[in-house]
């Protein structure tokens, strides 16, 4: 053997590969990512009567319940001009995007250990595919929301005054996605080691919904308790979402800066943490 003259393509050692190298190899596995997303869609609607239509029915049923319970029975004030249907619908689809992807990513190791333990691929692919699946679902539901908005504009004399505000829409998704991915990855690392956290997490997500303006606008929150809702980095993004789509919401630049910088921080640190820990976690999952 000629030491030193050997040129190796790859090396496996006790330390995990560099995070940037891991990121680079994600591209090589893009087909696996796409196949996982496709699988998720196929599986959800396999052996169902309504099939892919469930993507619409699921938020619709939630919408009906929310409009009846929170709109008619409890009567939470939701603003001056926005019809309750649009208000709740927009909240539901963005919230579902967050909670479904957050839950899915948290369960990365539990749900995919059979694959992780038998074959190598960049470990981040699974959380990414969960994110993409839910993003696609969000897009489909958003199209549905836009149709309903147009219905209200044409038949119910609703004036959202959106226009230029719509530019903010992609930023809302980026912000929510960063927070979801970052938080989800950290939760995934913790739940892989401590299964008890998983039980807690379901409750935490449900509680989080009540301090996020999903069922109520930020403007209607009691001033003495406002800080609780404002501390939640999702709050400014939900308000911005309604502001850009429906023309009504409380939007402050400093709150948005807070959300985005926290999102970026959580995303980057969680990515490094995930890359460093994932191989070890597979040993114990």
């Amino acid at each position: 053997m000629q030491e030193g003259t050997q040129k190796w393509d790859w090396e496996i050692g006790p330390k995990p590969a560099h995070s940037f190298a891991a990121l680079k190899s994600v591209f090589a596995y893009r087909h696996l990512h796409a196949a996982l997303v496709r699988k998720e869609f196929l599986l959800n609607y396999q052996q169902t009567i309504l099939g892919p239509l469930w993507i619409f029915f699921q938020p619709l049923l939630t919408l009906i319940i929310y409009v009846l319970v929170f709109g008619k029975m409890i009567g939470i004030p939701i603003g001056k001009s926005t019809p309750p249907v649009l208000f709740y619908f927009s909240g539901i689809i963005l919230w579902n995007f967050f909670s479904d992807s957050f839950w899915g990513i948290s369960n990365t190791f539990r749900d995919h250990i059979h694959l992780y333990s038998k074959v190598y691929f960049p470990r981040i692919i699974i959380p990414l595919s969960v994110m993409s699946t839910n993003f696609l679902r969000l897009v489909v539901q958003l199209v549905m929301l836009v149709i309903v908005i147009f219905y209200f504009i044409i038949f119910k004399n609703f004036h959202p005054n959106s226009g230029l505000k719509l530019i903010a829409l992609p930023f809302v998704f980026i912000g929510v996605a960063m927070l979801t991915m970052g938080g989800g990855l950290i939760a995934a690392i913790l739940t892989a080691r401590y299964r008890d956290i998983l039980n807690l997490l379901g409750i935490v997500i449900r509680l989080l919904m009540f301090v996020t303006p999903v069922l109520y606008p930020l403007a209607s929150v009691n001033d003495s308790l406002k800080w609780v809702v404002l501390i939640n980095p999702l709050t400014p993004l939900f308000e911005l979402f309604r502001y850009s789509l429906l023309g009504e919401g409380t939007v402050h630049a400093d709150a948005l800066v807070y959300s985005f910088s926290l999102g970026l921080l959580v995303l980057i640190s969680s990515f490094f943490l995930f890359n460093a820990r994932s191989t070890k976690l597979i040993d114990i999952s």
């Binding site: 040129k7 596995y29 087909h31 196929l42 401590y194 597979i282």
Partner: protein, 432 residues
């Protein structure tokens, strides 16, 4: 051979025994509080305890492979074979040491990686292909070939949960068999499916290993496959390399250790030995004449001693050899002797290349005056015959109760020239 494409250097892997972590978050937090914050002595890393809580699944393993090598890895359960493959496949990280390599690596550690029960065969081919590291173009190009190899064309759009287990295995293996990496890692996955399919798998394995340039790491309990398919052998034992070398030598050493000679059985006390008041068994032994283990190529010597307490008639012994399922392979009548108060010895030597590789047992019946059975010692000796095959293309179970060496040969008895072939063709055409 070619250049070195895989180098394993001082590879070690340590696992923690028992519960990973201490179980729950509460316990870990209190542990951390006690030992990191309060600086108490660590209960886990004290004295003899620490040695027992960890296990070295691999301990300082080093080897290298040249391009085109086929490495067979053998070893008993828990010897570290799978851990080694998992590290080279990048599934788990080593505790110490490095693996360096060139080219692409694919590993087949289970049959049906990435398969999902609810998806159709078609979807699963793509899913599994991607998971194993194939590209879209590669899968599309080989799709028809994969389906044809699996032989389940008709069911390709049926969810695999409705497949029989055989169909499932065939499809799953077909995908794996069409991988074309530079380095291929295969765990014990070929021991599935029916005999015919195994034949197909082994053929494919051989194709792969013969293709120039492909390097293979192969874990198997099928010693025949290792001996025939591989160019190098490694025997792992408790995380250490016990032996490396030509696969057939390594396999032999391994079998010698594990197919240990059956120790003779002996009864010291005539009153408690099996038998009756006329005849009792004193000693039985079975073994190969020269080797320490019995293989299809060794003669098998069976010896039995009896105490004989009777007199006044002739005795002989009926020797019956039974195969695994209890079917009789043959039945021998021994020569007879005049019974007297004595110790009698019976020797039977089964010639080499008669029995197949399976378990056999021997039943002895002692007969008085060639007609009246005195006592039957059923299954008093049993042994297993190890396989030994070289230069063959089939590594599955050899069918048959026996495997006698019988001359048979196929040869060209007459050459036909082109003209006569045409005659046959036209003859066929006329007749149809």
């Amino acid at each position: 051979m070619g250049e070195i494409v895989l180098s394993v250097e001082n590879l070690s892997k340590q696992y923690r025994l028992g519960k990973i972590g201490t179980g729950s978050l509460r316990q870990d937090v209190s542990y951390w509080w006690k030992y990191s914050v309060l600086k108490r002595q660590d209960a886990f890393f004290q004295g003899t305890d620490s040695d027992e809580r960890f296990i070295w699944a691999l301990n300082d393993i080093s080897f290298s492979l040249n391009q085109g090598d086929a490495l067979g890895i053998i070893g008993s359960n828990g010897s570290g074979k799978s851990t080694l493959l998992k590290i080279i496949s990048r599934i788990t990280a080593p505790t110490k040491g490095f693996v360096r390599g060139k080219g692409t690596v694919s590993s087949i550690l289970e049959i049906g990686t990435g398969f999902h029960q609810e998806l159709s065969g078609r979807e699963n081919i793509f899913m599994s292909g991607y998971a194993l590291g194939m590209t879209k173009i590669e899968i599309k190009k080989k799709f028809d070939e994969i389906v044809a190899f699996s032989g389940i064309e008709k069911f390709i759009d049926t969810p695999v949960k409705r497949y029989s287990s055989g169909m499932y295995v065939r499809l799953a293996f077909s995908v794996a068999a069409h991988l074309e990496p530079d380095i291929l890692i295969i765990d014990e996955v070929l021991a599935v499916g029916d005999a015919e399919f195994q034949k197909k798998c082994m053929g494919k394995m051989q194709d792969v290993s013969n293709q120039n340039g492909r390097t293979i790491l192969f874990v198997s309990h099928n010693m025949t496959a290792i001996s025939n398919l591989c160019s190098k052998g490694i025997w792992l034992d408790k995380g250490l390399i016990k032996e490396t070398g030509l696969p057939k030598d390594v396999v032999r050493s391994y079998l010698e250790k594990f197919a240990q000679p059956i120790p003779p059985r002996e009864w010291k006390n005539a009153s408690t030995a099996p038998g009756n008041e006329l005849i009792r068994l004193k000693r039985t032994s079975v073994g190969a004449a020269d080797l320490s283990y019995i293989s299809v190529a060794t003669p098998i010597k069976i010896s039995c001693e009896f105490w004989c307490f009777a007199e006044g008639f002739t005795v002989n012994v009926n020797v019956q050899l039974n195969a695994e399922q209890g079917e009789c392979v043959f039945n021998l009548g021994s020569s007879s002797v005049q019974a007297q108060n004595s110790i009698m010895q019976l020797d039977v030597v089964i010639p080499p290349r008669l029995l197949n590789n399976q378990s056999y047992s021997v039943s002895l019946t002692v007969v008085k005056n060639h007609s009246e059975p005195i006592f039957e010692f059923s299954n008093c000796v049993s042994f297993e015959v190890q396989d030994e095959r070289l230069g063959v293309n089939y590594f599955g179970a050899w069918p048959g109760v026996i495997r006698p060496f019988i001359n048979n040969d196929l040869r060209i008895s007459e050459k036909l020239d082109k003209g006569s072939l045409e005659i046959t063709d036209s003859f066929n055409a006329q007749s149809s």
